[in-house]
């Protein structure tokens, strides 16, 4: 089982990394109105890299999100860093005041967010949804720009726009959120929206898919590492240890990312503590049997039967 899951985790990391690479490449390109390929610029990627760095720093500082200890895990983190930078760089509006608002939101939702204690993922679904919304906004303003409409939207002023007088034209429509081709980073010939948008959307999906796969595979890979250490014990002892320390609790116990020796010590101390707790509990249960209770009905009766290992229905387990 161990070798099989290890292979799965490693393959997952490799495939996730390739997805991130392909997506990053797609997000870095655009097609101008003459059909020529050109880059989308480095500024949004730089902001993405800074936020990704912040997210990794917060992850390292948290108890449950320590950095992995082996080459494969570290490679996954490195690619994850680029993946997050690509995703943010691809979803951010290329310029203008919106970008700063988006960066503030991302600082709160992505960079300063601690890894989820339950799933162990350092980029949650909320962050993915927020990035997807930003991408939709980017696609919208790119569409507007590709149609030479340099505003987020324009609204007809009621009454004024209905009157057929030319002199009212300047005040009969209000532009909301104006921007310029320079802010948008458009190529001089203009943007060919359809292929560029397709490229960005597919690239974004690939990066997000790659990141999700990297995260789950990295967690699985760390679990495999801990499992391998436990399996160095005699099989029966290893089984007991794994029953005492179920896999679902390893991340919560802070076992992920610990160096080999510290990991062994942490497992030893946790096993010792849990065994002590089990023994104390067993003694306490024995004591209740000695003391006993005559009342066999109602709530006390149910508890007594439970402590004796019986079903509430009266069947002995």
């Amino acid at each position: 089982m161990s070798t099989h899951t290890e292979r799965n985790a490693a393959s997952g990391i490799a495939f996730g990394a390739i997805l991130v690479g392909v997506g990053g490449l797609m997000l870095g390109l655009q097609i101008d109105a003459n059909g020529a390929w050109c880059g989308t610029g480095l500024s949004s990627l730089a902001i993405g890299a800074l936020l990704a760095l912040g997210a990794i720093a917060v992850r390292v500082a948290s108890k449950i999100g320590r950095m992995p200890r082996d080459e494969l895990g570290l490679a996954a983190v490195a690619i994850g860093f680029f993946g997050l930078a690509f995703a943010i760089g691809g979803a951010l509006a290329p310029g203008g005041p919106w970008m700063f608002l988006q960066v503030l939101l991302l600082v709160a939702v992505v960079a300063l967010r601690k890894p989820d204690a339950e799933s162990g993922r350092w980029i949650g679904n909320g962050a993915f949804v927020l990035l997807a919304l930003f991408l939709v906004f980017r696609l919208w303003i790119s569409w507007q720009g590709s149609q030479l409409r340099w505003q987020v939207m324009s609204v007809d002023v009621p009454i004024l726009s209905w009157l057929p007088f030319e002199f009212l034209a300047p005040i009969s429509r209000v532009s909301l959120g104006s921007f310029t081709p320079l802010e948008m980073g458009f190529p001089p010939a203009g943007l060919d929206f359809a292929p560029s948008a397709t490229l960005w959307a597919l690239g974004f999906a690939a990066v997000i898919g790659g990141l999700a796969l990297l995260q789950s595979s990295t967690i699985e890979h760390e679990n495999d590492r801990i499992h391998a250490l436990i399996r160095t014990l005699p099989p029966q002892v290893a089984d007991v240890v794994e029953r005492l320390l179920p896999e679902e609790e390893w991340r919560g116990l802070g076992l992920h990312g610990l160096p080999e020796r510290q990991l062994a010590r942490r497992i030893e101390s946790t096993v010792a503590e849990r065994v002590r707790r089990q023994q104390a509990l067993r003694r306490a249960v024995e004591d209740t049997r000695v003391l006993g209770t005559n009342d066999a009905s109602g709530f006390p009766g149910e508890i007594r039967r439970a402590l004796e290992g019986q079903d509430p229905t009266g069947d002995v387990r």
Partner: protein, 263 residues
């Protein structure tokens, strides 16, 4: 680490580097056909032929017209450049000379590019020498501007796309689009009360096809106009009065093309 996994990680690393490098790919600069310097004998500074001072160089065009058409061209060129008293466009074009000119224009349009250019020069001259500004007391105030616009549109339909790619014709073609917009906007606004929607719609359809405004990709002429007259293009796409940008730019380039013979 398994070889396959290692290969996957190496490939991913290469892709990541490519993803960063790709962002630095420079956008190609838009090079318009009129920026290309041709070798050999050519008509230099073609826009001078479309300006008010065209009369000073108009005779140079004779040498570029095919021999069988040259005598007729010289005669009509001389005639058009000496139209006096600012007749109405319709009235002049419907005269015997006007009809001869129309036939010659059609012949020149089907000739080589220099002949096409010569025909455009004659159209521009006609736009300067005849009156197409709407009159107040006429029943069809838009008719003269429509007629003049029709002559420009005929030329644009024949040479618009080719002209945008031709070093000689690129700039004159853009000028022709602007002037067409000016003429048709004049026709649109000809009625004293309200506007003439038929002229407007006709103009939008013609310009839309020429520039590829509503198409997925603009035509070469559309790209050239976008590069040199972005505000006109912006208004053409998104303004309530879509011909206004073309009209404004035509007015800037040719202030004397006012429909009243520059008076």
């Amino acid at each position: 680490m398994e070889k396959k996994v290692l290969a996957g990680l190496v490939a991913a690393g290469v892709l990541v580097v490519l993803g960063v490098v790709a962002r630095t790919l420079p956008a190609p600069r838009v090079t318009l056909a009129d920026e290309v310097v041709e070798e050999g004998p050519r008509i230099v500074e073609p826009m001078q032929f479309l300006s008010k001072g065209a009369v000073l160089r108009a005779a140079e065009l004779d040498a570029w017209v095919a021999e069988e058409r040259r005598p007729r061209f010289k005669a009509l060129r001389d005639l058009v450049f000496h139209v006096a008293d600012c007749p109405e466009t319709n009235e002049w074009v419907d005269s015997a000379e006007g009809q001869r000119l129309e036939r010659l224009l059609a012949e020149l349009r089907s000739g080589k590019r220099e002949e096409a250019f010569a025909s455009l020069v004659l159209v521009f001259r006609l736009a300067r020498a005849t009156e197409w500004k709407p009159g107040i007391l006429t029943q069809t105030p838009h008719a003269n501007a429509e007629r003049m616009g029709g002559l420009v549109a005929d030329w644009l339909r024949a040479w618009g796309e080719r002209g945008a790619r031709d070093p000689l014709l690129a700039e004159p073609t853009r000028a022709a689009v602007l002037v067409y917009g000016r003429l048709m906007r004049t026709a649109q606004q000809a009625p004293v009360i309200g506007t003439n929607p038929a002229s407007y719609e006709r103009a939008l359809k013609t310009v839309g096809e020429l520039l590829g405004v509503d198409a997925r990709r603009r035509t070469a002429l559309g790209e050239a106009l976008q590069a040199r007259h972005p505000e006109a293009m912006r208004k053409l796409v998104g303004d309530m009065d879509r011909l206004r940008g073309l009209d404004d730019d035509a007015h800037t380039l040719f202030p004397d093309l006012d429909g009243e013979c520059g008076s």
